[in-house]
Amino acid sequence: MRIDRLLIRNFRNLAHIDLRLLPGTVVVGENRAGKSNLIHALRLILDPTLSFVDRQLSKEDFWDGLSDGTDSWDPMTEGHMIEASIDIVDFEHDRKLVTALGNALLEEKPMRARLTYRFAPVDTGEDAAEAHKYRGAVYGGENLEKTIPTELRSYLHLVFLHALRDVESDIRNWRRSPLRALLEAAATAVAEEDLSNVREAMREANEQLNDLEEVKDLGHSIGDRLVEMVGPNQAIDTELAVAPDDPLRLIRNMRVFVDGDAHRSLSSASLGTLNVLYLALHELGLDIRLLDDSDIAHVVMAIEEPEAHLHPHLQRLIFRRVLDDKLKTRTTLVTTQSPHIASVADPKSLVALRTVGNQTVAAAAQSASLNRAEWDDIARYLDATRAELVFARRVLLVEGFAEQVLLPKLAKSLDMDLDKLGISVCAIHGTHFGAYAQFCEALGIPWAVVTDGDIDKNGLSNGETRARALVDLLDETGEPAEHGIFVGDRTFEYDVLVGSAGNFTPCFGTLAELCAAPSVEVIQSWGGNDPGHDDFMRMINNAGGKGRYAQRLALQQVQPPKYVINSLRYLEQQ
């Protein structure tokens, strides 16, 4: 089973969301972009711990954009409604799910079911509709009159892990503890014979302790004092023991300690450790329930910003596992602001939320039509770059390290601060911009490309050809620059050199600093004039390569060439 689609209407800042989902989905977005609201919408449909009352929303939960702007406006007198629904597929082989979702079917072959939470006016058949009576309930399929009972919905078991939870008290608290199910399962599985051995051992231990003179005395004093205080008739019988000798109670009373032999209590563990422990216990508990219990058929994990207090390495390790889509019995949805989590996610499963005007727009990466090699390529890239691209407001795609280092500096000379503008310069180490541009497009991230002209021996601009091919790939027409694709004349470093008369001095100075004496002589022989593309590029090679040159040049004041200016201005407008 998996959740294939999530639809939300008019819920808080989620005016209209229509998302395709994968088994492991990672939702990224800035603060207030609507990540928590998205999860809450999912909970309204599935969470068995939400009560009937929790499902009754109020007028503050309606999207502001419905308002006519007057103070007295009330969405509930207007009869507006809030809806959230999920489409479920791939469950035909599971008779339990067929039973639970049988009355929620949308399509028969293959089976597709829909569960819809709806907060809407109740049709009472009365004409006078001055004050609508609203009800929030979950319906199945296209029939919005028949509710699906909680009991059936709960076979899709939703586990919600909220952001800043108090892990220690959650583990301690018997009712909420993920440890509880595990201990109870263990207790029922133990053989009667083993239990009686433990009972015997425990009794012996208690007796031995009570045989110690000092302990005996203490026991007597407690008893005597009680009798002295309230008389023999009302004094309660007391007994000293380490623990009750009922082995089942012993097992249920077991606790988790940390730090090996030191047996430290959980309160001494770091918050990060506790988070890991909590997830591990939860996973184990769900495994047991899925195996033994007949009361759940599929688990939906909704995890809200789990990165708090977790070291980046742990984030990557744990979520690589949690998001593993091979687990067919589980659907995971994680919201995060952590590049570490986003970087280990399958790039197809990324969903970006951003605010446009007064509502949230959601974009799913999987809408990009890339082939498998291209997706793999993007996955490796995101993993290596810690997914910076995903969190950017705007992206400038460049070929290599040199551009990445120099562009922020060049922008500064235009009085543009790339960090403030939220522009990330991403070097893709090659000229295969197609996949990246489509990926950005799918996630709704404005992008621009800066690429070299690369004149071949016939004098043709490879860059120009590349740019036009990219326009075609994106199913667009017109000039590349209209779509954010900017092509230099020759090569980036050379174009910077000749881009402005003032650039000769800093460029040559930098080269001279990096080169050995013979090369320095050649540079001096140019007399501050353009030596031509090939000689200049050869000299950069002598100076230790483009990367080294660019890093050193970034310390100087240089003006950007025309096409770079155009690309930055273009992005600034997006």
Binding site: K96, V98, G102, N103, L105, V122, G125, E151, S294
Partner: protein
């Protein structure tokens, strides 16, 4: 000991009942009157739900009339069965409409069937009359036209069968259907026909239904229309996934044969190699003398074994016609009353409805309260509710056999989305205050209930089926 364990222990003392109870494949129980079939059916259902049907799966328990369904439900409740979403206990029509047609109509591309309105008796009659008037000349004898058509429809008759009835009757049937649809209505026979068509045609419906109801219990199999038999066969004897069938009935008790049902379907079912047939033979209801006489009339069938002493059968010759019979009956009833037998345990049986009317008048003239079941009003959820309200309000809360909580639950179901807490309060007030009116005719209560909301509920269009608190499906009409 819990009610269920107790009931199972009792079944164990009867070899045949125990055999049926422990059968773990399709089972057909042939049960003569008084042989404890309802107890067997409900105990088996309760046991299976507790032990053999893990949630979320459920079971469907189907019978013919609302009254029988009500009784099954009551008995199942007494056995401590916990309700679950896919537990259906109700009538054939309730199942066809609420569990087959309504949930799947849109899915299989028949959205017009998702919310259908059932024609009441009067609407059906008028439509038949219109169709008959168009086809037949005024002087022709048309008395049997409607019953013949309904007989054929009940049988899901083939074209050849229809041909035997003649062209004119077929034409009336066609026109009747068109007219009913033009009015946006369906009748009860349509419901079964449509359900059969949907289930037989769409694998997805069979797959979901057999998952939701892996066990099917059918009561009074002999009286179920051929349509239901087809439905049962699709769900239980299909190639892919099957529900397990537990059917009880008695060919000798078939009382609806004249409407087109085919009691022999039960024999056919019992004869299948994949069905275990169990013949119950012990009668728990009647005295030995009654059983002796009954066995004389069973001619050639295995005799029934009695369980109690006593009983008496006497025949009285009334040479002076039916009036004389009425007078003697009144006398017999008076004798019974004198012996301390409560009124509701005395029955008078006649071959014809008109005779029932006559004898009722005779009883009433002798100041004996009498009531003809079935002739004055049909037992529907609404009429049953009104009976319950009346009993609770007048007989006292403990001895009425009705619980206020259940009455309020039905009340909520009738009112649907219009219901509010205030409605519950109003009904409770009405029933609790009823004593103060002293004795007065029942129609006052009916009027007050109608005013309180029953009237509104009955007028709701497109609400032929509603889901009650327990997820059961019922049909509204008076």
């Amino acid at each position: 000991m819990s009610a269920l364990t107790e009931s199972i222990r009792e079944l164990r003392t009867n070899t045949r009942q125990w055999e049926a109870f422990t059968t773990r494949r399709h089972c057909a129980v042939l049960a003569p009157p008084g042989s404890g079939k309802t107890k067997l059916l409900t105990t088996r259902l309760a046991f299976d739900l507790a032990n053999r049907i893990p949630k979320p799966h459920g079971a469907a328990c189907i019978t013919l009339t609302n009254a029988a369904a009500e009784e099954l439900r009551r008995r199942v409740d007494l056995l401590g069965v916990e309700d679950r979403p896919h537990l259906f206990i109700g009538t054939v029509h309730g199942f066809a409409l609420g569990r087959v047609i309504a949930p799947f109509a849109t899915l299989v591309g028949r959205p017009e069937l998702a919310n259908i309105t059932i024609a009441n008796k009067q609407q059906c009659l008028e439509t038949y009359e219109e169709a008959i008037a168009e086809v037949f000349k005024p002087y022709e004898d048309t008395r049997n036209v409607q019953s013949t058509i309904e007989f054929n429809r009940q049988r899901l008759a083939t074209d050849e069968d229809w041909a035997l009835s003649g062209e004119k009757i077929q034409e009336v049937a066609r026109r009747y259907e068109v007219k009913l649809r033009t009015k946006g209505l369906f009748d009860f026979l349509d419901i079964v026909t449509i359900a059969v068509e949907l289930v037989e045609r769409h694998e997805v419906i069979r797959r979901v239904l057999t998952a939701q109801y892996p066990h099917l219990y059918v009561d009074e199999y002999q009286d179920l229309a051929p349509g239901l038999d087809r439905l049962v066969r699709s769900l239980c004897f299909d190639y892919v996934v099957n529900s397990e069938l537990f059917a009880v009935g008695d060919v000798d008790q078939a009382v609806f044969g004249f409407t087109g049902t085919r009691p022999e379907l039960l024999d056919e079912l019992a004869a299948r190699s994949d069905v275990t047939a169990v013949h119950l033979e012990r009668n728990y209801r009647c005295g030995a003398e009654i059983i002796r006489i009954a066995n004389l009339m069973r001619q050639g069938k295995p005799p029934i074994v009695g369980d109690r002493d006593g009983g008496s059968v006497s025949a009285t010759r009334c040479p002076n016609g039916f009036d004389d019979q009425c007078q003697r009956s009144v006398q017999a009833v008076n004798n019974a009353i004198a012996r301390g037998i409560p009124l509701h345990e005395i029955a008078v049986i006649c071959p014809l409805n008109s005779q029932c009317g006559q004898i009722t008048e005779a009883l009433r003239a002798a100041e004996i309260p009498a009531f003809v079941r079935g002739s004055e009003y049909r037992l529907t959820p609404v009429t049953a509710f009104i009976e319950g309200c009346a009993a609770w309000a007048t007989l006292g809360r403990q001895c009425s056999n009705y619980r206020l909580g259940e009455l309020l639950a039905s009340w909520r179901t009738f009112l649907g989305a219009r219901w509010s807490r205030a409605d519950d309060v109003r009904l409770t007030e009405l029933l609790m205050d009823y004593e103060k009116f002293g004795e007065r005719p029942a129609y006052h209560l009916v009027r007050e209930l109608l005013d309180l909301g029953v009237q509104r509920a009955l007028q709701q269009e497109h609400l032929p089926t509603i889901r009650s608190r327990s997820g059961r499906c019922m049909m509204l009409s008076l």
